[in-house]
Symmetry: C2
Subunit: 121 residues, 2 copies
Amino acid sequence: MSISEAEAKVMEALWAQAPQSAEDLFARISGEQDWQLSTLKTLLGRLLAKGAISADKDGRRYLYRPVLERSQYLAEQSQSLVDRLFSGRLAPLVAHFSAQRSLKPDDVAELKALIKQLEQP
Amino acid sequence: MSISEAEAKVMEALWAQAPQSAEDLFARISGEQDWQLSTLKTLLGRLLAKGAISADKDGRRYLYRPVLERSQYLAEQSQSLVDRLFSGRLAPLVAHFSAQRSLKPDDVAELKALIKQLEQP
DNA sequence: GGCAATCGATTACACGTGTAATTTGTCGAT
DNA sequence: ATCGACAAATTACACGTGTAATCGATTGCC
């Protein structure tokens, strides 16, 4: 099962720090996200059901921690986009960004460094 | 309003060739997508409602053509992913792919060529 | 002109999602 | 033992989406 966008925001908060209680998460997420505590609880429940997080009892409350790794989530999402829209190849995506002129000089420099690294393993 | 994944498949078929009738599209999409004609009609209706395509009467049929451009759709989708998962920067996404070892030598070569081009406009 | 074929339009329906209120269960304090 | 606080679980509900059947209108043929 894949996680939704709202659920992903909860995951981000857990990837930033874990474990956290629902209250912790609520405090951390408020400001970013204008949710009722109840909403967050619903999302935690759904993430638990999906196996994306785990919960350990800590006194009267639960402490939640990610099971799904951020890097795995990134991989799924990125791969899916590249597959769906760019025939599974990364270069066309970069070309697209370049054509849109949304590459800052910083990006170009960073990319260049990356490529260099890839060429000399 | 944004278009859904099933709707995007219809758009792809229209981007590949336009204008096309519902029947044309159905023929072109069958094999990729195991839809009933009725399903395709529903999706065309929704795309029309969203303004992503237009329809011109051609005798008893309609001919559909894209209004939303593919490049704009690519831009929205890519930007959204990069914003949500990579702080809006492209380089980290490429780095992620590289770390996943999902870059083939071809890709690296192509990227290198791209970068080169970006440096000497 | 009536009937059948053919389209598009309308209606259907289950499921995921965003958002939340209400209910339930438990622990601590009186 | 009871009551209140609090946390989690359950229930709620509207909306988008995937998938499709059916309805209704138009048109070509006999």
